[in-house]
């Protein structure tokens, strides 16, 4: 494959839940590669509680 024909596109988003980046390679209008990297920011939290007698 002639790599010079590949078009590289990159993107990212950032919000309270995640920071995500992605990279795409397009060949003559066709998506041939897409990788995604997600950095999780928000954990799930359980709050322990005790009852009163």
């Amino acid at each position: 494959m002639d790599e010079s024909l590949l078009e590289k596109r990159e993107g990212s988003l950032d919000n309270d839940n995640e920071t995500t980046t992605w990279v795409e390679y397009w060949l003559t209008g066709e998506l041939v590669h897409r990788s995604v990297h997600v950095q999780l920011k928000r954990a799930v939290v359980s709050f322990g509680e005790t009852a009163e007698f």
């Binding site: 839940n17 998506l31 995604v36 954990a43 799930v44 939290v45």
Partner: protein, 153 residues
């Protein structure tokens, strides 16, 4: 339908019953001092993964080249810990799906325990994604009482 990030209610119950063992020490309910095996499976956007999810299911799991049903093994190299009144635990490595093609949008990951009948632990959601002959990776937050992936406060 939609996916909702949550620690599953069944897991909270399982914690009280010592069903899960992220580390092999100090786990008297288990007959062997070895950690259970945990996996991470991905789900498409039309799935309904939430706090009511009790166990892994292949229904609405992603499928595609390079992806094995059930997902990948999650490494917990660090024992559960606590700071103040908050206990926490985070996988010690990124969760990575290498060289996969996942054409149907997915936006959720189920963490579950394969050693204990595939019982659920938690559901994590993110912006819907697809992957084409590439890698999907989930990088873990800092393992502490503020950002640890699993926290009980």
């Amino acid at each position: 339908m939609a996916n909702t990030q949550a620690m599953t209610t069944s897991f909270k119950v399982d914690l009280l019953n010592a069903v899960h063992a992220f580390n092999g020490t100090g786990v008297p309910a288990h007959t062997v001092s070895t950690a259970d095996t945990f996996k991470a499976a991905l789900y498409i956007t039309t799935a309904t993964m939430n706090a009511s999810t009790t166990a892994y299911s292949a229904t609405n799991e992603v499928s595609g080249t390079g992806y094995t049903a059930g997902g990948v093994t999650v490494t917990f190299g660090t024992a559960p810990s606590s700071t103040g009144t908050t206990s926490f635990l985070t996988p010690s490595a990124s969760i990575t799906y290498t060289t996969v093609t996942l054409s149907t949008s997915f936006d959720a990951m189920l963490l579950y325990n394969t050693t204990q009948s595939n019982k659920s632990v938690a559901v994590y959601t993110f912006t819907a994604q697809t992957v084409a002959a590439g890698t999907f990776s989930l990088t873990m937050p800092t393992n502490d009482a503020t950002t640890g992936l699993l926290r009980i406060a």
